[in-house]
């Protein structure tokens, strides 16, 4: 008893200055409330969030379009000259639209191509693995929350840590080569091979993110009424048929949401790849966000306008994906209401 009262007392002691601060804030706000009325206080409560939101999200979103129509290397808009759609033209100037190397901005199209294949392969493999894991975790397991946590663990790790963990494993004296060495396979420098590096970025990003999607799919599986399965069992339905006729249709909305969410994240891949490969060797793992970052900031021939134009094109893809997601969500809600 005495310990709880002690912690309580300690807590109230620590909170005392906060309470005092809140009381001081209350004095001017009461005056505001007197003039603005109770309804007017809504604006006061909304103001800080909307102000920050407006300055750091909405405003950049709007001036991004202006940026993409200006040229030069300066960052301040007042020092930049208006050039119309020239940046977009530059991005789309190609002699052969099937060959990225024939384009004026070949790095952009290489990044687009790399990102495209990365997104397709990563999402397909990851959702497949997540679905299998979720199905397994949905079985009658002992210590299910432990196993769920096992697959979720990498999701919390920072991308930089993820990149370094795998860089350490894939390097020449690393664990992978050690494992293969046991089977008589000679050590190999995985991160200097164009194809293996590409595969590594897919594998590492699956490792880092599949736990999130497993979790959402598992929640979807657990929401399927148990009596459906019991009825199927009584009828002696084969498991494969149960999966096709009950699990898959009822999980479909979740599955769609998860696929779109994974697509949105995969298009923006940057952090872990940047640490793991730096986009190399060559341009084999150069993805869109890194292209934008390097064009806008890092390269000596930086061109913020071009980076802005590329980021708007990427934004368009994301808008389409988000609209699909919202559409699915709405359809799901309507179904739920019926």
């Amino acid at each position: 008893m005495s310990t709880t009262s002690l912690t309580d007392r300690l807590g109230s002691l620590l909170m005392a200055p906060v309470h005092l601060l809140m009381r001081i804030i209350d004095i001017p706000l009461r005056a505001v409330q007197k003039t603005a009325g109770i309804g007017g206080m809504a604006a006061v409560f909304l103001a800080p969030n909307m102000l920050i939101f407006g300055i750091f999200v909405l405003l950049p979103l709007v001036i991004n379009f202006v940026y993409s129509m200006t040229g030069g290397t300066a960052f301040f808009l007042s020092e930049r000259n208006f050039i119309g759609a020239e940046q977009y033209q530059r991005l789309f100037t190609c002699t052969n639209y099937l060959d990225p190397m024939s384009c004026q901005e070949d790095a952009f199209w290489t990044a687009v191509g790399n990102t495209f294949w990365f997104v397709i392969l990563q999402v397909a493999l990851m959702i497949g693995l997540s679905l299998i894991t979720a199905l397994i975790l949905n079985r009658d397991l002992a210590a299910r929350s432990f196993w769920r946590a096992v697959f979720f663990f990498p999701v919390l790790l920072s991308p930089v840590v993820v990149g370094l963990i795998w860089k350490w494993i894939l390097q020449r004296q690393g664990l992978l080569n050690f494992g293969l060495y046991q089977f008589g396979i000679e050590p190999y420098t995985w991160l200097t091979d164009r194809n293996w590096t590409f595969i590594a970025t897919i594998g590492v990003s699956i490792w880092a993110h599949m736990g999130l999607y497993t979790l959402i799919l598992l929640a979807g599986l657990q929401a399927i009424p148990k009596d459906l399965y019991e009825a199927a069992e009584m009828d002696g339905t084969k498991p494969a048929r149960v999966f096709r006729r009950i699990t898959l249709p009822l999980l479909a909305p979740n599955l769609l949401v998860v696929v779109v969410l994974a697509l949105i994240k995969a298009v923006q891949i940057f952090d872990e790849v940047y640490v793991l490969t730096g986009g190399g060797p060559g341009t084999s793992t150069l993805y869109l966000t890194q292209y934008i970052y390097e064009t806008g900031f890092a390269s000596t021939l930086r061109n913020p306008g071009l980076a802005a134009a590329a980021s708007i094109l990427m934004g368009l893809v994301l808008v389409v994906l988000t609209l699909i997601q919202l559409g699915i969500g709405q359809r799901g809600e309507k179904k739920g209401k019926r």
């Binding site: 209350d26 706000l29 009461r30 409330q33 109770i38 206080m41 409560f45 909304l46 800080p48 969030n49 909307m50 920050i52 909405l58 950049p60 979103l61 001036i63 991004n64 940026y67 960052f75 301040f76 808009l77 894991t133 397994i136 079985r139 009658d140 397991l141 769920r148 946590a149 096992v150 697959f151 979720f152 663990f153 990498p154 790790l157 920072s158 930089v160 840590v161 990149g163 370094l164 494993i169 020449r172 004296q173 664990l175 050690f178 060495y181 999130l212 949401v257 969410l261 949105i264 923006q268 952090d271 940047y274 970052y293 806008g296 900031f297 802005a308 980021s311 934004g315 994301l318 988000t322």
Partner: protein
Amino acid sequence: MGVASRFILRRRGGKSWHWTDIVTWVWLVGGLIIMFGPAVWLAFSSFKTPAALAEFPPSILPYVTSQATVQGYDKPLQLFEAKMPDGSTKVLAEVRRIGLVAQMVDPTTPGEIVRVNIGDRTPVRSVSFATENYTTPFTQFDFLRYLWNSVFVTVTATLITLIVNSMAAFALSKYEFRGRSLAMLIILATLMVPLSVIMVPLYSIISSLGLFNNLWGVILPTVATPTGVFILRQYMLTIPDELIDAARMDKASEWQIYWRIVLPLTAPALAVLAIFSVVWRWNDFLWPLIVLSRRELYTLQVGLSIYSGELNVQWHFILAMTVVTMIPVVLVFIFLQRFITTGIAGTGLK
């Protein structure tokens, strides 16, 4: 052991093993190794000396070769277990090596030199943790500074996020006003505006506000999270309006209602948002990389990536600092994992 294995391997209704049970266990144990193995391997490696890190094949535990100071020699000599011609083994110290033959001495009788074929000897090794991998970066490099920067950014950003988001959520859930649905729509629409789409103009805004190379330039753009407003609003909608009306009867000001009634009742949702925010801000990388270009301002993530990208990578330091960077997240994982998993499963957001 018997009880434990029976508990772990228990089957529904005591039925016999089915092939799906085997698949399940292979998958789970394989998952355990693949998900935890790399991080554990990194943690073990972080205690190795540079010499041990360069070894192939690597050992799991950090070993160092034992050394001894022998009378008559200035430097400490490496100890080996050598096979003697008569078949016995003896611990000898190596003086020098010429081709395939090593000149060695017995540490107890340093006078006489024994010649040993290098194939007949193995180094004496013992487990030893190279803790200097951890202490050196903190004392000789700026890593203590980076750690502090990361903590400052994480704590400040999380506190501001909680206050600002909860105020907005309060306004959007408990007041009727013109433009409420518009405000909601704007917040929802930008739920998916990622940094990569707005980083160029955002950078110009940050620098025109004088926040380039400033930790506040890292903090401010992240605090008005639509996700946070969304989670908190959903939760506040469940607080009965009668409570607020009763407080108004008692002449409580709107600020008091927010602070004394609504916030305490929203505690569970605030806790979830706080955990998310801590993990997000601790892990942020691209934006700090853009805003911070002075070494003393780096966060841990930026510092780590810059150091690991340098030409002569000092892996023993990098590995140790990676472990340090991992610690807060691992703690969150161990103690608060349940909040996060239910939070994600409930909202589908990360």
